[in-house]
Symmetry: C2
Subunit: 930 residues, 2 copies
């Protein structure tokens, strides 16, 4: 055991800081209402290594009902033994511990403590602190198998009678659950007298034997002592890799293993029977904090609480409010001068900071701290952002190509040519008048920027890019699987959700009325059918609403434009376009932001109605619904505001807000223990919002790339910020998530695939129907007299005889252009005036339509074929990784073979009895060294 950090000057300063911090806070909150606390603080200001509020931090209440005072004094007499925060600080790897400064807190559950609510509401702050004081007085240390309390603090007891049955029930369940936890070997410590009134903390520690047992059950792959050399392909490849690594050195984050590892520990699922394989010399660090937490969580999920009729553990209890929160603890503080070096701090400095935006992410460390699932998210985000770089470059080139060729584009030259004196028909009934084609010169030139042959190339490029991205990610994922020892890991079915259990229970009860046999009951499709139907209808309705909104905005634009056209105000008329577009955009933005929230809520509600069995299934169903709704919403106004949508804005607002009250918070935080600090952080709500945002962005980039080649550039810029924003959120703003193992990004990959498939079709249609690409080609090869584009503009325009205006549709100001118009032109392929059937669709129209459709078919199938080919060409598993995996297997067999031989030798020496009888079991005391 290490001594409290008395010879660590840094630590001393840190403690000093905390002292003044606390004092300030106490003054601020309660004035001089807590004299003894302040007195203690002052008194101890000189012996630095004793923390200011040790009795607060290290308080260990058995139970509120416990006879507290005696234990308090008992505890107070051995203050040095409970200097927990110092204890933790001295061993930075240790993290927060129990009272004894030895046992690590691996997990924390919080629950409501009975507090005098009715009194509180009436009385002022004073009462709050009185209760707090009395609670503090009833400090007690409870270790294990706590017997029911006998003595009670009278002040608290007075309120206890108001406990209703519900609260009692909760308490019973808690007690049973905790007893069960102790039974399976976990060690518990309660803390109800902390500075956060009404919240009790249950700190959980998993001792070594529990860790070992559970690691074996969970088949956790752990590094063995056996080390082998990792070869990165051939000699040349290796040298190139090394060179690249040297060149990109400044881009690597400054975390420990910042160069390619040449050796790797052979991993093997942990097994106590094979524990000689593992390096157990340092038991404290063999299982790191995230592993310990996930082991405890596994036990918590599994432990039953039968009294409460719920079969499964913590999820039910959380769902029913028996516990209010469950979270593992962060490793330490991220800032403050004296914060010890810990993984969280390194992550904060080398990852969750804008100043390192150009660097690679320390994926290994992220995984080490947050687990594989979150590690994969950031790895994915990194790959996506990296892949956006070439796309952005090509996009910019395509855009520049458009800019460069705008002056050589014959059709726009023709439109802008003043000699081409074409009179166009009015664009709307009555209000609009005839206009000259050359006034559309600017628009024609601008549209050339986004609509030129390079766009077609770019669409194909982006379809292949999407495939390459997916392939690249699959390979990266496989590589990470190998590095993180996830090969061979199979995802197990999750535990049931509390809601599901309740539904099943209800169904069981109903069934039992009819047939007394106690059959295993589960929810079938029949039970869920109403929810499914409802879900379907509401989804369709919501999508209908989305389209209605789009339609409404279009109607708004038309009506406003007409109104402005007819307005007598000349300034209004001159700014028609800007006004209409501007207001429509704002309306759209507002509606999108509102609908986004509504859809999120609707999706969640619909998913709850379906009562999915497991968390995974819940998540998947929710994601699909949210995706469909939000996608329809996001794309309803097509490209509008693509990259400046609501959620970003929301994030910035949240950030601002959190900055605002951070100063106050910080000082208060100083006085808190780790589990209390973490309690104030937001709960971790899963990665779905982050993924969803990125997937929708991916959709934007791939789906409408034909309309806007700069999309990848904007996405890239956005993501560079996004990574750090998300990083900050995970490191500093939310409680530490439970490390979940995951081999892949799950359903998100399917969504990506789906999107990139749809993108091909959408791009085909966008190119062939919204651009002039096909008509131009058709004109050039079928109609052009000299094979050039000259005359194309004329070819696209049909004739209209002004005498054919239907009554009431002719322009009010026919003399707008200064002369009388007999025949005007409009953009369409119609029969000429002198044909038998004027204004009918012309042969050219059908020919061009056929060509457009043919283009769609060719484009779709060629791009799909190419994508499939790329998919097939690039192996999903990088070659070196598959070699390494193979090598690992061989090494493992060799290892066991050697062990085998060792055993055989031993056996031969001992006896000659028939081998492999149970009696002559391989003796693994054999110190087999490899």
């Amino acid at each position: 055991m290490e001594r409290p950090g008395e010879n660590d000057p840094m630590q001393t300063i840190n403690n000093h800081d905390k002292v003044s911090g606390t004092t300030f806070l106490v003054h601020d909150l309660s004035g001089s209402l807590l004299p003894e606390l302040e007195e203690q603080g002052t008194m101890r200001r000189n012996d630095y290594y004793i923390p200011v509020s040790c009795e607060e931090k290290a308080a260990d209440f058995g139970n509120t009902k416990d006879g507290g005072v005696s234990k308090y004094s008992k505890y107070d007499s051995i203050p040095l033994n409970s200097l927990k925060s110092d204890e933790a600080a001295s061993g930075p790897k240790q993290g927060p511990t129990f009272q004894d400064g030895q046992r690590r807190v691996d997990y924390v559950l919080t629950y409501h403590v009975q507090k005098p609510q009715s009194v509180r509401r009436k009385t002022s702050r004073f009462a709050d602190y009185r209760i707090l004081r009395s609670l503090r007085r009833s400090l007690s240390t409870m270790r294990s198998g706590g017997t029911p309390p006998s003595k009670e603090d009278p002040e608290i007891a007075a309120h206890k009678h108001r406990l209703d049955y519900h609260e009692d029930d909760k308490r019973f369940r808690q007690t049973e659950f905790e007893d069960n936890l102790r039974e399976v070997g976990l060690e518990l410590e309660k803390d109800e007298g902390n500075k956060i009134p009404g919240i009790g903390f249950l700190k959980i520690h998993a001792p070594w034997n529990v860790l070992c047992r559970e690691a074996e059950f969970m088949k956790l792959k752990m590094p063995t002592k056996k080390v082998y050399e990792v070869k990165q392909g051939s000699n040349v490849v290796e040298r190139i890799n090394l060179f690249i690594h040297k060149v990109t050195a400044p881009l690597h984050p400054k975390v420990e293993p910042n160069r390619p590892q040449n050796v790797k520990h052979l991993s093997h699922p942990f097994s106590r029977e094979k524990q000689h394989l593992f390096d157990l010399s340092d038991r404290a660090s063999f299982f790191d904090s995230k592993t310990r937490a996930s082991i405890v969580y596994e036990v918590l999920k599994r432990t039953r609480c039968t009294k409460a009729k719920y079969t499964m553990g913590i999820t039910s209890l959380l769902g029913n409010g028996v516990y209010t929160a469950a979270y593992p603890l962060h490793d330490g503080d991220v800032d403050g001068m004296g914060a010890e070096a810990n993984d969280r701090k390194i992550l904060y400095e080398e990852w969750a900071s804008y100043s390192v935006f150009y660097k690679y992410q320390p994926i290994g460390l992220i995984r080490k701290y947050f687990g594989e699932k979150i590690g994969l998210y950031f790895a994915w985000l990194g790959v996506y952002t990296q892949m956006l770089i070439p796309a952005a470059i090509v996009g910019v080139i395509v855009f520049l190509y458009g800019c460069a060729t705008v002056d050589n584009d014959i059709p726009s030259m023709e439109i802008c040519d003043p000699r081409n004196n074409i009179t166009m028909c009015p664009l709307c009934d009555r209000a609009c008048s005839y206009w000259k084609l050359k006034t559309a010169c600017g628009t024609a030139r601008a549209s050339h920027l986004f609509d030129n042959p390079a766009t077609v190339f770019f669409s194909i490029f982006m379809a292949l890019w999407a495939t390459m991205f997916m392939e690249h990610w699959k390979r990266r994922q496989m590589r990470l699987n190998y590095i993180w020892d996830l090969t061979g890991f199979e995802e197990e079915e999750d535990h049931h959700r509390a809601e599901y259990e309740i539904q099943v229970m209800q169904k069981t009860l109903k069934k039992q009325d009819m047939s007394p046999k106690d059959k295993k009951v589960k929810l079938t499709c029949t039970d869920r059918a109403p929810a499914y139907m409802m879900g379907l209808f509401i989804m369709l309705f919501m999508i209908g609403v989305t389209f209605a909104v789009v339609f409404g905005v279009i109607l708004y634009r038309i009506s406003i434009r007409a109104a402005l056209h007819m307005s007598s105000n000349p300034t209004a008329r001159s700014n028609i376009r800007a006004t209409v577009k501007g207001t429509a955009a704002v309306i759209n933005l507002v509606i999108i932001i509102i609908m986004d929230e509504v859809y999120g809520a609707v999706a969640r509600w619909l998913t709850l109605l379906e009562v999915p069995k497991t968390d995974k299934s819940f998540e998947e169903r929710l994601i699909i619904k949210t995706f469909v709704l939000k996608f329809a919403n996001a794309f309803s106004p097509i490209v509008y505001l693509a990259f400046f949508r609501g959620s970003k804005i929301k994030k910035l607002i949240r950030r601002r807000k959190s900055d605002m009250d951070s100063q106050q918070q910080e000082d208060y935080n100083m006085t808190l223990e780790r589990h209390e600090k973490d309690h104030f952080l937001g709960p971790f709500v899963g990665l779905s919002p982050e993924y969803m945002e990125m997937i929708i962005q991916f959709g934007m980039v791939t789906l409408f790339v034909a309309s806007f080649p700069l999309a990848p550039l904007f996405a890239l810029l956005n993501n560079i910020i996004e990574i750090r924003l998300d990083a900050k959120k995970f490191v500093t703003e939310v409680r530490r998530p439970i490390a979940a193992r995951a081999k892949d990004i799950g359903i998100w990959y399917n969504l990506l695939r789906g999107l990139s498939k749809v993108a091909v079709i959408v791009n085909a249609f966008v190119i062939s129907f919204t651009s002039d690409f096909i008509p131009r080609l058709v004109y050039q090869y079928m109609y052009s007299p000299d094979g050039s584009m000259h005359g194309f503009v004329n070819h696209t325009l049909s004739y209209f005889n002004v005498s054919d205006f239907q009554p009431g549709t002719a322009p009010v100001q026919p003399m707008h252009l200064g002369y009388e118009v007999q025949i005007c032109r409009y953009k369409d392929y119609r029969e000429t005036l002198w044909s038998n059937t004027p204004y009918d669709l012309s042969k050219e129209f059908w020919a061009i339509l056929a060509c457009r459709l043919a283009f769609v078919i060719v484009f779709q199938n060629v791009v799909m074929l190419m994508s499939d080919f790329v998919d097939w060409l690039i192996p999903d598993i990088p070659k070196d990784i598959s070699l390494q995996i193979h090598k690992e297997k061989i090494l493992m067999v060799e290892l066991f073979m050697k062990e085998e031989e060792g055993k055989k030798l031993l056996r031969d020496n001992h006896t000659n009895q028939s081998p492999f009888q149970p009696r002559s079991r391989p003796a693994s005391h054999t110190p087999s060294k490899f």
Copy 2:
């Protein structure tokens, strides 16, 4: 040990049979040249339980060089101890054994024995039998670690000097390899003096400890003692299943577990440390024969033969001719009155017989006998055949719908209507003349059978059917994986191919010249690039050849038709169509059959050039090449001969041939031992030919379903025969394959997927471009004056002015119809004669083209979407199976938990020392009962 089957009357008869059989054969082959043999046979004819030619069957040569005579007499003196075949017969589960009648033959290697080739060629049969006799005289029993021979039979020694270095080398390698095999624990027995001259047999037996060790390494899942109840969904589902099972009872094959199992053994990867989990009471049957064989094969593959510079085992040795064949033995005989009951016999009777064509296949038994890979093939074939039933029914209905509506079809009515007196333009230059449209009446009516709206429905149906089939198969596969305990099984990378090793060695040698460092060398893309390029070019060339052939056949048809048209022979002219089609079909058939063989050879050669690393990779590359080539070949004449193609024919020929000489063979067979009998069977060459045939058929069924709705019916009929044909082949005609574990059907599934994707596009084009479906719709909704089909025929015909015939193209007999023609009609959408641009493509043409293309797009995307939806809707893992798998995992954890508790109790009783120290390792002597 069981006594020789003396009290088994069946056995007695059997032996008697064998006796006469042998005697007959001896007479037949050698007259009275083998007096001592015959004498023995006669002598023993009365003591039935002693086999006739025990010294032949049980002969165990150490080596040809061995001093044989003494051993022979020694052996002869203990005949009762070596009555091996009786031994095996008495325990039907035992199968063939070593000399001692105890140890099972798990595997057999064959090799060339030095035989006096030059003498043999010159001398007659007499010499052969002299050698045989002398060989027989040198009988010897060699057990293990055979020392080099010292004494030699002079007759054989005379020929030994002619051994070249090559043969010597082979012998050395053999010796080393066999020594290595003995080292790892296998037991060997040689048999070189058998009735098959020039062939030596190395019989391999794996003793119990080797089996256990290897099973542990191979992570073979074996059934534990723990049994649990399998629930087939809810109560209702279970009852329905039971009912279905009762109804279909006659369809189930009569093999042992012919009803759904209600209990299942929990399986766990075999581990000697956990052997108390397994029921090892009957060691002889714990590992069944296919498992034993695959274990031995695993050892053979792994065992190195370093002297020969090849790193890897049996594959290299087989590739280099050190051994000529390697195979496990069949369980026993399939026919003959007295053949013992064995799995092979049951399979022969209940599966490989046409009389049971209507029954389900005994998949469980197939898997038990042949292993998972072959089991999966037949399961897949069964699922495919089953799925063809609904497709065939719908196809027939569609066809009948066509038949029923042919009289109501307005366009064909119009064509057949004598009042519609339309004169058509000639179909060819000069030779053909004008004709009346109504002569095409028959064709029009016939084409309606295959081209009606129901066809479109059927195409969509079949696209969805293909998806359903794939889904159904995935589920079935998953179910089999569960039943066969393959869940969690990961396919390991195979051992390297001998050819690959040789190439690597050559490269290593080359490299070593340059740099002395002994780096690990492998073949890179650079090494393979020439092969790839060559492969690509040859493939393209071959596909070109295919198309050239098609083109040639078309040319042939045109020229023959023209020639016949101009022929003066009236009978020739009247049968033009039949003659042309008939001869073209025959030519096509011949070419297809020839090309099929050529392509098979080319694909194999190209794959060899590429030097793939492993057998799996070799197989995949070969399959892709063969598939591409054969597919192009098979479809070049589109639907022609679809279901009566070469390979079938080939099979029947082969079958006939094998029937022919079977009688002779059978009698000879009687005298042979199991390993000798199996030697005469064909080698197992993999499942590729079988799969390939079925996949091409699947392609036929799905790709051209729009042209021929009866395709599924024919496929179904074909497959019912195919299953039994393949079954017969595997059971009786080839050596027993090595049981390979496989979770899925591998690359074939991808090919199926690819085909069903392509099928959608092909069907879209077939419907929209080769049928009148779209033109009819367009006419009905765009042009028809009354919305009916009346006038459609007229609408599709354009006008031609006979004065516009180019010189030399007008018909020679313009008055053929009896009147002079001014204007004739032809089927096309062209501008009318009185338009500005006569004979130009008309607006209708473009409109219909646009509609056709639009149909393609809609069809393709709708069907793809529906397929994806079906794919998504049907879970890949059946619900009950995923529940069972989950349950199994929980049971497994519970099992270990109990074990854990037992250990803890023990430990607590013994000592209080810190748990999980190596010293206090869980004592698994604990008889933990579950």
